[in-house]
Amino acid sequence: MAEVRFEHVYKLFGAHAAVEDLSLDIADGEFLVLLGPSGCGKTTSLRMLAGLERPTYGRIEIGGRTVNALPPKARDVAMVFQSYALFPHKTVRGNLAFGLKVRHTPRPQIRQLVEEVASMLGLSRLLEKRPAQLSGGERQRVALGRALLRRPQVFLLDEPLSNLDAALRAQMRAELIRLHSSVNATIVYVTHDQAEAMTMATRIAVMCKGHLSQVDTPQEIYDHPSDLFVACFVGLPKMNIVRGRLTNAQDEPVVELLGMRVKPDPHRLRTPGPESRNEILVGIRPEDVLPVPDNAPGVTARVELVEPLGSETLVTSRIADDTTLVARFPARSPVVRGEAIRLGLNTQHLHLFDPITDKSLLRKVSQPGKTLRPETVAV
């Protein structure tokens, strides 16, 4: 059993709180990604789990045992460092076998296990080389192999792909996903790359400035971010945020934005705090901003930037009140900088936020089956 639990964990460095009140349950076999910008406390949390830092307050449990006082070697975890931390004076074989040798595994068994893992990761012909002679991807696989050989309760990975080039990163992502399903281990993975998080995680825990903002499945995080930070951090290009007003028309709440009116799902709407005076922030993902014909409801905008990605085109345009909107246009769209276009919104997936607390104004409601009830409906 290898569930992991953080219970009200704090880590203070002097007066600075790197991690504040982190409470997180990780189920056995989960691939949990700690996602956030630098300085949000994700690496510190991972190191506390590994035993390289001690929590100032709170409790950490692995497999039901409280491990606060246990040194790393007693916790049965394996860690892959961002810089791989391979022993430069040992060969690949020596690096892989280190943990086994420390545990007094008999020599023939070490040999067999090392060769198994090496062939699984494609390192068989590199066994006698030193880390200095390997490429970045190969070193990363050795670090991974060293962790795999330990058969730990929990795998800890600290931004292992950040030093690889883009193509290799995509390849390693697929390998890690495959590894997770074949080894069926609990993996805690730290990254600042939201694409990695979205593709690999069973659940993502988004952290900001030491706090846990939201922990949920990737799709939920994308579709129902709990606050402005999560909404803007996950999803590339960034979500568009515009100002809107929440008013009442015939006892039903209505959101006005960009000259349009939208009705949010009343079952899910939370009222904003009194300080906001009915001004709210509305989030629109770039794929929900669409070119529409001139007579359709929408706004007129002047194109400022056209970024053709090949598979789609990102168009940044400015509307009358000086807000910019980024839209995903289909590939090969004949849009030109300086052109005037008309943009409409997919009103089914608008996100509403309180401008003071930054929290989402739409409660999550469990939805039966796969039918997605839209959060907002055009009026």
């Binding site: 460092f81 810089s83 430069p88």
Partner: protein
Amino acid sequence: MDRTAPATSLQKIVIPYPRVSLADVLGNAVLALVGVAFALPLLWMIFASLDKNAGWRIRLPNLTLENFGSIVTAQGLQPFVNSFYLAAVTTVVATALALLAAYPLSRRYVPGKRSVTLLILFASGLPVTMMLVPIYQMYATLHWLDSRFTTSLFLAATALPFAIWLLMNYISAVPLELEEAAGIEGAGTLRTLFSVVMPLILPGLCVTAVYNFITAWGAFIVPLVLDSTPEDQPGTVAIYQFLGAHGMIQFGQLSAFSLLFSLPVVVLYLLIGRSFQGGFAFGGGVRG
């Protein structure tokens, strides 16, 4: 000028010679003078060692090898053996203990670490002569006098502070992540020290060992005081035998002995120099 046309006439190319300034000349002259001041005694030593009638003047030698001959005998080489024994034991003890002390001091959280480190650094500056009288008394009480082994123990003790400081510097150059990785893999403190840290500071360890050896090789007053047995005299003390009574100095043998005695130190200095050029390569272990 048409470069494609063959050179039909040889043109004299005048390259102006860079002008030599007065500062250059004076500087080089002073350096030359200093160099000569150092070289001359060495020259005398070499000549005198090969000279049958060596005096205190530099003169062309009356070539003979009997000065060396009288030293390279079983009895004449005893001081060298003693020096080697003292230096070897001192080196082994001091380097091993310094490694064990330097590792926790440079890594682990030890309460009062900073004060201990500073204390050690200052201790390396303590003059040995200050400690000799109480040490002599201590040794006398323990019946440790007149033994090469116990003398080298004290030499090791005096060599420890600087050796610890040297090794602490080398150890702190090893990336902490390697030790963290070793810790997660299950290695304890000693295992991490010997399997991970020591191989990576091997050049530094050698430098420390050689430094200890050279220092102990030149130890004079400590063996003089703590060990009065004539057979145990190291080279530094034994050299006095050539300064006979009534001012009669056997220059020839003196210089031959000095030459032979300096040889190991010169060789070792050359060796350390090479290891510095090798540099420290943690290649591939940690990125960046």
